[in-house]
């Protein structure tokens, strides 16, 4: 009965979704005002129903109901409960249902809590959200029903692949989905505002928490993904400019730009058309990212099970939603009045520069990722675009961006004076110059990008704290704290990258047991290897003693999985306050020597620490904004 309940709830939700769209259109065409009070409840109930439907699927997975095809194919009664739970979305149908559930619940939340936006705009927003939802409901119900029964029930499930039992795998997809779907809400707001020609500060304030929320998840998703790749790939790299990585970076870049332009719109009622554009672009990038990853049109080291048929479906939705939104943009945005004015040297000006640079980086990543495809379509030649290209193009743009980031928060709205701005950041400039001098004089030469990176990281770190100077810290609004911490996170992250790329030490050796190697501050003695076995793998494990202490061992493994036959390197990592020791064992040469790869990576952890700080800053900002919104709403209610 659980499966049937879930399916029924899903069908009902889909029907309500269609109703939501129809009611919305009717209200907007102005011929049935009495329906306008029905749209919100419909959206709420739709959210509830898909929520129930998804809970039913979780339930089925938790109790391993083998009469349900999806469970039988993807789960197993002997799995730990956590992976049964995560198995709900570890497959195509379940992940689609999760996507729809988040979408519908988000729509319901908008309907419940958004009170300050013009009612017509809100109804248009909910109608847009319903239009997005309908496409996914259709796909779910007609082509990938998660609740299909299996008769007779399977004796045991087929989904006991321990390779897939990884906490990272369990929670990475929902994190990204929350980010993507949050962007869909921003997109719906933009479409709604275009439909009613109501692009203004209220629209920006309504959209902002959704942008912030989804941006937090995207930030966390990328940070976690980067650490995971670092940990799993076994070569010490943390970013490869791989298509799948780029696919996750593109929505983040657009969302970050949007986050800043929405502030301008909310505070100063400027950048109207541009903010709408960015909201459309941010969701487009989420869809494009999903398409690139799922369709398999680009080769990636992060292998996904791909299916061109699903690629076709996502492409169709892409054309429908993105094409539709951009056509609406072309039609409508010309009639959106320009917002308030400002001088080029002003907080707005700095935020425009921020947006320009973020958009340029986004363009570079997007075109760079797709360029091989474009060239092949046009000339037939196969070419590759990779890290050297992205580093030398996006790198300098990013450095420029952090300069803007240092100065921007210290500039006044509307109009400011260059000299005063420079005055305000004189201390950070001094600190940066000092670091630059030290790097030039005292340290052996490192590359230009890392030198600038460290210099700017120091300056920007100081500058990002500057908005707090002379303020009563306890009375500083939470969202200002959020900005400060997020910007500080950027400088921490950048310092980590620069340290890692310029001061890492690498030792690659073919080592015999008993040999000793010096890497960074550590002395590593190779004691020998031994075979070990896991549930479905065998491995060669090296014993590396750290600093001559035979009790203090690192144990990197080279694992061989039986089915499917795959090989993985399990790095052994020692984290210290000032960096990480990263050790990997490679192949033996048959005569008693083993390849060892040892790295000392100073401050590499700062890369991810910075990422977490950025997300945490976003969270503070979100809480601060929501609280202030609520207070304002209450004041308005009393007035």
């Amino acid at each position: 009965m659980i499966a049937e309940t879930g399916l029924a709830a899903l069908w009902l939700a889909a029907a309500l979704c269609a109703l939501q769209l129809l009611f919305g259109i009717a209200v907007l065409r102005g011929n049935s005002d009495e329906l306008s009070s029905a749209v919100r409840p419909v959206a709420v109930v739709q959210g509830l129903l898909t929520g129930i439907s998804f809970l039913m699927l979780i339930w089925l997975f938790l109790r391993t109901d083998l009469s349900v095809e999806l469970v039988a194919l993807n789960s197993h009664s002997a799995k730990p409960w956590l992976y049964k739970f995560a198995g709900t979305w570890g497959n195509h149908e379940g992940s689609m249902l999760l996507w729809v559930a988040i979408l519908a619940v988000a729509g319901g939340l908008v309907a419940l809590f958004e009170r300050r936006l013009n009612e017509r705009t809100l109804i248009a927003t909910l109608a847009a959200q319903a239009a997005i939802g309908l496409g996914f409901y259709a796909f779910l119900l007609f082509a990938s029903n998660p609740f299909a029964r299996l008769s007779p029930a399977a004796a045991e499930g087929q989904g006991l692949n321990p390779l897939l039992q990884d906490p990272g795998l369990a929670f990475h997809p929902p994190t990204l989905y929350l980010g993507y779907v949050g962007m869909s809400v921003a997109f719906s707001f933009a479409v709604g505002a275009l439909v009613t020609r109501d692009v203004g500060a209220a629209f920006a304030r309504a959209m902002r928490p959704w942008v912030l929320g989804s941006w937090i998840f995207l930030t966390l998703g990328i940070t976690a993904g980067s650490y995971w790749a670092y940990y799993e790939l076994g070569w010490g790299g943390w970013w490869f400019w791989d298509p799948v990585e780029n696919a996750s970076l593109m929505p983040w870049l657009a969302a970050t730009a949007l986050l800043h332009s929405v502030t301008v719109l909310a505070t100063r009622d400027s950048l109207r058309a541009w903010t709408v554009m960015l909201a459309v672009v941010a969701f487009s990038m989420s869809m494009v990212g999903t398409f690139l990853v799922r369709s398999g049109i680009l080769t990636s080291v992060h292998a996904f099970a791909v299916d061109p048929q699903r690629g076709t479906f996502i492409l169709a939705l892409l054309v429908l939603y993105i094409g539709g939104a951009l056509a609406l943009y072309g039609l409508r945005v010309g009639t959106v009045r320009e917002g308030s004015q400002f001088e080029p040297v002003s907080r707005e000006g700095a935020l425009v520069a921020n947006n320009l640079l973020f958009t340029a980086i986004l363009g570079v990543v997007l075109i760079g990722t797709l360029y091989p495809l474009i060239v092949e379509a046009v000339t037939g030649e196969q070419l590759s675009v990779g890290p050297p290209y992205f580093n030398s193009t996006a790198g300098p743009l990013a450095l420029l961006l952090v300069v803007v980031m240092a100065a921007g928060p210290l500039m006044r709205w509307r109009k400011d004076d260059w000299k005063k701005v420079v005055n305000r950041i004189s201390l950070p400039i001094l600190i940066a110059s000092l670091v630059l001098a030290i790097l030039m004089l005292a340290v052996s030469p490192i590359g230009i990008l890392p030198t600038l990176g460290l210099t700017l990281a120091a300056g920007v770190g100081a500058a990002s704290l500057a908005p707090l100077w002379g303020r009563k810290l306890r009375r500083t609004p939470l969202f200002t704290w959020g900005m400060v911490i997020a910007h500080l996170g950027v400088s921490v992250c950048m310092a980590g990258m620069a340290f890692e790329s310029s001061f890492s030490e690498e030792v690659l050796v073919a080592s015999r047991p008993g040999e000793t190697h010096q890497v960074g501050p550590y002395t590593i003695t190779f004691l020998g290897t031994e075979p070990v076995a896991g549930p479905n793998w065998t491995a060669i494990e090296a014993r590396l003693s750290v600093n001559g202490d035979p009790e203090d061992l690192l144990r990197p493994q080279s694992r061989m999985f039986s089915s499917p036959p795959t090989e993985t390197n399990e790095a052994a990592i020692r984290t210290a306050w000032n960096g990480q020791l990263y050790t990997v064992i490679g192949n033996g040469d048959g005569s008693g020597r083993w390849q060892l790869r040892l790295w000392w990576k100073p401050f590499v952890t700062w890369i991810w620490l910075g990422g977490v700080m950025i997300a945490f800053g976003g969270l503070l900002s979100l809480v601060g904004r929501v609280r202030r919104e609520r207070r304002t709403a209450q004041r308005e209610a009393y007035a």
């Binding site: 990938s144 030649e381 690659l508």
Partner: protein, 138 residues
């Protein structure tokens, strides 16, 4: 309804499908650094920009595949022999086309790519400036 059995997201990160492997040990310079740090740095930079022929989008510097090992050996041997990294890259491009390098050489096909940041910034500034001017007129 028989849907695909494969989970959508089998991100078997790093799980390299096992290619048939030879029984020969890796070449000397496949996994060993050149004694001269300056030469090793040159070699490393080049290796990080060469695409592994048999991998899923990895550079030869990040791959355990035997072919990648042999390419690393080739790069290090030639650098040690005093060859210029660009010449080694050209030698490989001559054999595998530009697919082999992650750093596409500038020419008629790739100039839009390389000038892209400038084009984008230029277009952006043009759009933004248009706004400023119009406002001053009004």
């Amino acid at each position: 309804m028989k849907r695909l059995i494969a989970p959508v997201l089998i991100a078997l990160l790093a799980a390299m499908p096992l290619h048939a492997q030879s029984r020969m040990p890796a070449a000397q310079w496949a996994n060993q650094q050149l004694p001269d740090p300056a030469q090793e740095a040159e070699a490393k930079e080049l290796m990080e920009s060469l695409r592994c022929l048999v991998c899923q989008g990895q550079s030869i510097a990040d791959s355990d595949a035997e072919m990648a090992s042999d390419m690393r050996a080739l790069v290090r041997e030639r650098i040690a022999a005093g060859e210029n990294p660009d010449d080694i890259r050209d030698w490989l491009i001559q054999r595998y086309g530009r697919w082999i390098t992650y750093n596409p050489p500038l020419d008629t096909v790739t100039w839009p790519l390389w000038f892209l940041p400038l084009i984008l910034i230029g277009a952006g500034v043009w759009l933004a400036r248009g706004r400023f001017r119009r406002r001053k007129e009004s």
